[in-house]
Amino acid sequence: MKDQKENLLPGIRILDLADEKASFCSRLLADLGADVVKIERPGGDPSRRTGPFFGDPPHPERSLFFNYHNTNKRGITLNLENRVGREIFLRLVKRSDVVLETFPPGYLRNLGLDFEVLREGNPGLIMASVTGFGQEGPRSKYKSCDIVASAFGGQMYVSGSPVTPPLKPFGEQSYYAASLFAAIGILLVLRKRKETGKGEHLDISLQEAVASTLEHVMIRYLYEKIVSKRRGNIHWSNAICILACKDGFMVITLFQQWETLVEWMDSEGMAEDLREEKYREEEYRFRNLDHIIEVIQRWTKTHTKNELFESGQLMRFPWAPVVSPEEVLENPQLKARRFFIDVEHPEMSTSVKYPGVPYQFSTSLPNKWKRAPFTGEDNIQIYTEELGLSEEDLRRLSSMKVI
């Protein structure tokens, strides 16, 4: 394939034992050309049972959740709880650069597959473990999932309004943050390995990934002992607010280019008392925030989202409409940049537009993406062509429920 040479990460072989906590990590690497082999337990990864699904009723081969996190990978099944399965796994490890896993700490050790064992036959091996709380520490045995990581990591306390319960950011944000940290960690160790020849064990915690992506929240506490609270539609700095308009909601900056904003409102006869001199003073505006928001919202309600967005951008206001996923799909900027990538899904008799990656490189990367593998789709290729097992072996392993 001509493409492979020009890709960024060809020749890096990753064995992906990860569930939903880190399947996005290996996907990031696979998108840039790494050879990722997803190893699922016989019957398939449990995240195949997570929605949304294509059509009804839910079906494990039509989980959009699984599909999104596993493009550009190959897939095999293997039972690590079986002795023969473990032997096969060790043979695969010898031929790989990275093992990515999300089991509870101690699980692989109990199977005799901890990092020290795996690296015996492959000193350059890198192992990346992504777990709720990391490999060590008093909470390392706790069960986690996105809402637990979000709560313990500090996202939820500051999201939502003062009169509603803390709000979990939508989707699986702790998994994405942890996956990005893990992917960066893998690249760092790959660099180190060029000098030392030795791999490393990466220990990534969902809680820490969340706590490290809180922007101002920790800083305000560490330097000013201020505990950030939930503010609903008002930004913590009071400078940004979500206001209603004619056909939805708009994120509005309240204090930037104040005079331009007041002029604009005034030209439509809606500036009310904000024209008064005293509002030119920023301190005064902060003290009268509620009133200012009321007046501005009376004005925004006379406009549509698009009017405010387009006119606002012309005047360099960093405003934006609050949009739904359907509107994102139609976004002209994303379309012009070909952010969405068509992926063939013959089994759905259609090609599907996948959100792509946020970077474009000056070299032409292969822009053809492969859909996520079906359960065990690449068993024959990997077990017979790479490991030299016979079809007879495969049948036997299958009947023993090893694959």
Partner: protein, 395 residues
């Protein structure tokens, strides 16, 4: 400056709050020599050196001052590019080319240079010049809409989440490009769109909307795509104290009932199966909350986790700063700052051999690296340096 994994890698850093500095902080944490280009004019607000905010995002970096409005500054930048591996900037798309410092020009002096441009919308497309902040990008990506109790009460995430996420994508892209350079000997230009980064965080939902042609509504904390119930955030004893509980199957439900002490309501027909519990979620949550209100979140989470149920304390900043688990993992590090004194920040969650991080130091004062960079790296004489300083070019 430090002996980490990226020792020997030099990064010329034109970025400002916050996505860019977040990316270069990761590189600096692991030993890259990050040279941040500042000037007296730009070192204000969040870019003012001796503040907590600046210190937090600029540890392990050097600071030089160059006033880019002087044409001579451009020549100095080109000299620095010659000895750098990576140039990172997050201006709006016109700025670098207006200075005559676009990738085409830079690679003339350093053919295998990697240049990473990060902007709100990317370098191309009809909206490339749009201005945006983290919160506006979160709104434009659907994340704000989806992170809301209802369609009529949009709230979104309570901070600029888009910025650290973009910083992570940027560090990942830059390191991938280095792999490419090491293998092929060739440099690369990277055009990174912060907007696209945020859109990628709701991938499955975008697929759902596109394939199933359905409108998607915000659901607050409810579990939409997993049949988990009870699932959500519950008020506990104390002021603004909360816990989360997630029960995924019948086994865990049984454990929860045991922890609760098998009260009568748990035996009711309407809560007897997962799908029935989902149907009667609101009533179920009321019962759960009657129980959680009587205990602190720490007590509850301890009990529930012992019973094998996913549960968590909704921690605020103070809880995090004093979290015994994080402290036992040395999550917080102390760095001595010449003006701020002893400062505390969070370590990198990318953990492997500790030695790979090298020795850390607090953020630099404005122009602290001038002497090293201009004299030691570029070989300026004292006279040349002071002449640039007098004329305000270095300043």
């Amino acid at each position: 400056m430090n002996q980490g994994v990226l020792n020997g890698l030099r990064v010329l850093d034109f970025t400002r709050v916050l996505a860019g500095p977040y990316a270069t902080r990761i590189l600096g944490d692991f030993g890259a020599e990050v040279i941040k280009v500042q000037s007296k004019k730009t070192a204000e607000g969040a870019e003012s050196n001796a503040t907590g905010y600046f210190n937090h995002w600029h540890r392990n970096k050097r600071s030089i001052t160059l006033d880019m409005s002087y044409p001579e500054a451009k020549g100095i930048v080109l000299e620095l590019v010659k000895i750098s591996d990576l140039v990172i900037e997050n201006f709006s798309p016109r700025v670098m080319s207006n200075w005559g410092l676009d990738y085409e020009r830079l690679k003339e002096v350093k053919p295998d240079l990697i240049m990473l441009s990060m902007s709100a919308m990317g370098q191309k497309g009809p909206w490339k010049d749009d201005v945006a902040y983290g919160p506006t990008l979160q709104a434009l990506s659907g994340l704000t809409y989806l992170t809301s109790p209802t369609k009529e009460t949009p709230m979104g995430i309570g901070y600029a989440y888009a910025d650290p996420i973009t910083g992570l994508y940027a560090a990942f892209a830059a390191l991938s490009a280095l792999e490419y350079r090491d293998r092929t000997g060739k440099g690369l230009y990277i055009d990174l769109s912060e907007y696209e980064g945020v859109c990628s965080l709701i991938g499955p939902t975008l697929l759902d909307s596109s394939l199933n042609h359905r409108n998607i509504f915000p659901q607050g904390n409810r579990s939409v795509d997993l049949p988990a119930v009870p699932y959500g955030c519950y008020q506990c004893a104390g002021i603004d104290r909360w816990c989360v509980i997630a029960v995924f199957d019948e086994g865990e439900w049984g454990s929860l009932c045991r922890v609760l002490g098998h009260p009568e309501w748990t035996k009711e027909e309407r809560f007897s199966t997962l799908s029935k519990r989902k149907e009667n979620e609101e009533e179920l949550n009321k019962f759960i909350e009657q129980w959680t209100l009587q205990h602190t979140p720490e007590e509850l989470v301890n009990l529930l986790q012992k019973a094998g149920i996913s549960a968590g304390v909704v921690q605020n900043a103070e809880d995090l700063a004093t979290d015994p688990h994080l402290i036992s993992r040395d999550f917080f590090v102390q760095l001595e700052h010449p003006v701020l004194g002893k400062t505390v920040s969070d370590t990198s969650p990318i953990r492997f051999d500790e030695g790979s991080r090298g020795e850390w130091k607090a953020a630099p004062l404005l122009g602290e690296g001038n002497h090293y960079v201009f004299k030691e790296l570029l070989g300026f004489t004292e006279d040349k340096l002071s002449s640039y300083v007098e004329r305000g070019i270095i300043g």
